[in-house]
Subunit: 359 residues, 2 copies
């Protein structure tokens, strides 16, 4: 795979976002969120998605210059309407509102409607870290997941991210889809024409499958846990929780009504809300105990887990966020590897908008 | 299995709690929380645990008449010290504080230290429902779970409960351990001398196992997801999240330091905090949108999922809380079935405290 400088790729994204009508500061922010995914090794949510956003804009489903507004609030809560904007630029100011509220009353919780895909949840959850706050971010997404015992797709991969500051240790950053495997992992196997492990997907008829194309053929991803015997009802609870907090609280679309990210699928003619939904939270650590005290205990927590005895064949117990941080250190200097299919997409965008593609 | 009236069992629990020194109102509350588990079909957390609490009290590890206090607070947060009381009576007033805060500023979040086992998380999460609030409850617990790649037990089964009110439909009530299987499920297989499915436990050496006695032999439960290929790192993130919110925020013990529930195992000589920790939250629905609007959309959410097409061989897609509610309806009239080993424990308590055992 060809490698590109992350700065060059970011600059390219900024140019494209400007070309579709984003104001300069929003183009910069959107590109920053995509770049963060590429740096952290979550390739499916980085510049690989740029063409997807452009296609939504071409269909008139994306407002490049949204008027992002608080439509309802209490001292520790708010509902934000994203005005059909890029989730990439709607979520960060919504998190800012959560942080302002946390500053005043200890915690802030913002449910967002009328948004679009917001990139990696972890980016948003990490925003409060520098203020000695814990951050949380969730979003619902296009229905690709069948709840336990269901044949139909009713939930998205609905990720949850939780970021917790430490003192000397790097922060704890969990960021995970509430399915057994994220869609990005399927795509890797599809490119290699390899099967999935059993427990990731089911067929359109709801049968067990190891076909990495099962979802493309009308099947579904499975909730974390894979099957009832292994707790898939818990993964279903998690995905449902994210859906309710992100969309039923805010007035966005939920369940099967969530508009698809892919522009070739039309959204429902009878929506139950506006756009897709997110849920963002910030908790000031010292609303619970002195921040220094908390952060030294987080250091101890992290060191204890990191130093635990491993099972045979494994080098270490990972702390959530370790892999992404190491990937970021590596990719900042060594560049972002892009698959040829992604490069082809970028070439298409470069040609269409007359922007130079980095090499 | 012999069946007992739930009222009779509750009365028996009240008597025992009074005998160990609980004030009448706290004995009543503690018995109510245990009874709720028995009614909802979560047998491992009901009266079967009564003797466990008594044994902790005998060891001097349980304060039957605690002075439960707020030790730190902000408008939307508090830390409560449970004064070594029964979690059964510490968690409900902590949730009351969360609800008072939610009444005033929209949400309330209470982290609890210096507590003991609080029964089923779902009981506490459901308290806010009648006030048109969403409830959340988490707790850490004795270390029985090995994080992904770890040989050691570092986390408890650390459950999460989320309760969401609806209008015409019964509420959505998710309540689940963040492991593939809860300990109670192992106990059922142990009694039948049957193996577990692979993916529930590992041996003391960290190898795959289907031995339902593996944990008793020094092995560990596995996080939701079972193995890395099936997302156990996500179950580990969930368990870690619960541990941090319940204990690092409050100043309770976390990770391997959480004191064991069983009285024959001593707590650490070098604790990192006080007792075990809980985390309780309440969010006023109308701090986000009008409650009626929210609750009708929850009705629609619930009906959509309930009516989904099922996979072959399954009758219906369940809504979180359905099974427990149906179990409660049945057991209120038909009684609570108790295993002979549990009845033997109750007989022992009856004899020791000279209290009549119901028949």
């Amino acid at each position: 795979m060809q490698r590109f400088s992350s700065d060059d790729l970011k600059e390219f994204s900024v140019s494209i976002f400007k070309k579709i009508g984003c104001p300069a500061d929003q183009a910069e922010l959107a590109a920053e969120v995509l770049s963060s995914a590429d740096l952290r090794g979550i390739d499916s949510h980085g510049i690989a998605r740029l063409i997807g956003y452009v296609r939504l804009w071409e269909k008139g489903r994306l407002n490049p210059n949204p008027n992002i507004q608080v439509v309802h609030e209490a001292p520790s809560t708010a509902v934000v309407d994203g005005d059909s904007g890029l989730g990439l630029v709607v979520a960060p100011p919504a998190m800012e509102i959560a942080m302002e509220k946390a500053e005043k009353v200890g915690t802030g919780w913002v449910s967002v409607r009328n948004s679009n895909h917001f990139g990696i949840a972890g980016y948003h959850a990490m925003l409060p870290l520098h203020h000695d706050m814990i951050g949380m971010a969730m979003t619902n997404a296009s229905p690709l997941v069948a709840p336990t015992f269901a044949q139909e797709r009713l939930l998205g991969t609905n990720p949850i991210a939780v970021a917790v500051p430490a003192n000397e240790e790097p922060p704890f950053v969990a960021d995970f889809a509430t399915t057994t495997a994220a869609n990005g992992k399927l795509e890797i196997l599809q490119r290699k024409k390899e099967p999935t492990p059993y427990g990731w997907v089911q067929t359109k008829q709801g049968e067990q499958s190891n076909d990495s194309f099962a979802v493309a053929k009308g099947g579904a991803l499975l909730p974390l846990g894979s099957d009832r015997d292994h707790g898939s009802h818990k993964g279903y609870c998690l995905g449902a929780w994210v859906d309710i907090f992100s969309a039923v609280l805010s007035g966005a679309n939920y369940g099967p009504w969530v508009p698809p990210f892919v522009a070739f699928l039309d959204p429902s003619d009878h929506p139950v809300g506006k756009g897709i939904g997110h849920f963002l939270g910030a908790m000031r650590v010292d609303a619970f105990r002195p921040a220094d005290e908390f952060k030294s205990h987080m250091d101890q927590w992290i060191r204890t887990f990191r130093q635990a005895e491993t099972i045979s064949g494994e080098k270490r117990v990972l702390i959530p966020g370790d892999q992404e941080r190491e990937q970021e250190e590596f990719r900042r200097t060594q560049g972002i590897p892009l698959h040829s299919a992604v490069i082809d997409n970028l070439k298409e965008l470069a040609l269409k908008f007359r922007v130079d593609l980095p090499s």
